[in-house]
């Protein structure tokens, strides 16, 4: 699988580290209920299909990326720099 880093161009996936689902947003610490924190820490969807996930370009530019990938075909629909999408991520 090749990931097209917005900074570096198309690179082999072994240059990147996978860090899971990009969607969960950490609840506000002091106000969060125990249940909300539990969901944030442990509950993950495992979709067969479109998935937004975090990848880290550790062997390249050291940028965090949000990759939208089809888990069935590995087809990559979009790669965005995480810092630019952080505020707009779905809950």
């Amino acid at each position: 699988m090749r990931i097209t880093c917005p900074h570096c161009g198309a690179r082999d996936a072994q240059e990147f580290s996978y860090l899971g689902d990009a969607n969960p947003k950490r609840p506000d610490g002091l106000d969060a209920t125990e249940a909300a924190m539990h969901d944030y820490v442990y509950q993950r969807d495992n979709p067969a299909g479109r998935h937004r996930e975090l990848w880290y370009h550790g062997a390249g530019c050291h940028a965090w990326l949000v990759v939208t990938r089809d888990t069935r075909s590995h087809a990559i629909e979009a790669v965005e720099v995480a810092s630019t999408v952080r505020s707009g991520a779905a809950a």
């Binding site: 900074h7 390249g60 940028a63």
Partner: protein, 213 residues
């Protein structure tokens, strides 16, 4: 009090000292690859502050006459070069380390500036088979159509982080320069010396600081 454990005869040595040796490596005949150590360079990392790179960019332009690249590339002047090293990050290279600390004062305070001259090991790779040798471990497409003169990249070769750029072409075609962390120089040479052996390789370990950076 003098430290009795510190030998009096300590002298600085190049990053490739004890690793590279002048001579011919691999199969005999006309070398397919030429490797030269690039010792004596001044190297500093520049990282733009969160507020942006405008002041840093202007200072580098004013002091060194260089444009900080905003994509993976290297820009040259006669004496210095700036290599892209990630978003908002660069390496500033000086052909000659003498006076480099003073020159760096022009950018101090405009970002995170760290002297790296002794922390990196740089090689120049040329010869008609240079690209073929690199293809054994480098995942990048280094064909001239995909990797033109002046392009730079951060990648991994043999699990070692490598900063790679294409310098001006030489008489035998493409010339690549490669930088690794100094502590990885021995491991990197272990890979590179194996990769070039089948083509025959001329090694120049003591080039000094006469070439381009």
């Amino acid at each position: 009090m003098a430290d009795a454990a510190t030998p009096a005869n300590w002298t600085p040595r190049g990053a490739w000292a004890g690793i590279l040796q002048d001579g011919h490596l691999g199969v005999a005949g006309t070398p397919g690859v030429r490797i030269a150590a690039r010792d004596g360079l001044g190297i500093a990392s520049l990282i733009a502050p969160g507020t942006g790179a405008a002041a840093l960019t202007a200072a580098v332009k004013a002091r060194f006459g260089l444009d900080l690249p905003t994509k993976p590339a290297i820009s040259h002047s006669a004496t210095h070069a700036a290599v892209w090293a990630g978003p908002g990050q660069w390496l500033l290279l000086a052909e000659n380390r003498d006076g480099f600390d003073d020159a760096l004062q022009a950018v101090v305070g405009l970002g995170a500036v760290a002297e790296q001259s002794s922390g990196r090991a740089v090689l120049r790779l040329s010869g008609p088979k240079a690209r073929e040798a690199l293809a054994k471990g480098c995942m990048l497409d280094l064909h001239p159509a995909a990797f033109p003169v002046g392009m730079a990249a951060l990648t991994s070769i043999g699990h070692i982080g490598v900063h790679l750029w294409r310098a001006e072409d030489g008489p035998e075609g493409a010339v690549f320069e490669m930088m690794v962390a100094r502590s990885m120089a021995g491991s990197f040479w272990s890979w590179l010396s194996g990769a070039v052996a089948e083509f025959g390789c001329q090694v120049v370990a003591t080039e000094g600081s006469t070439g381009r950076g």
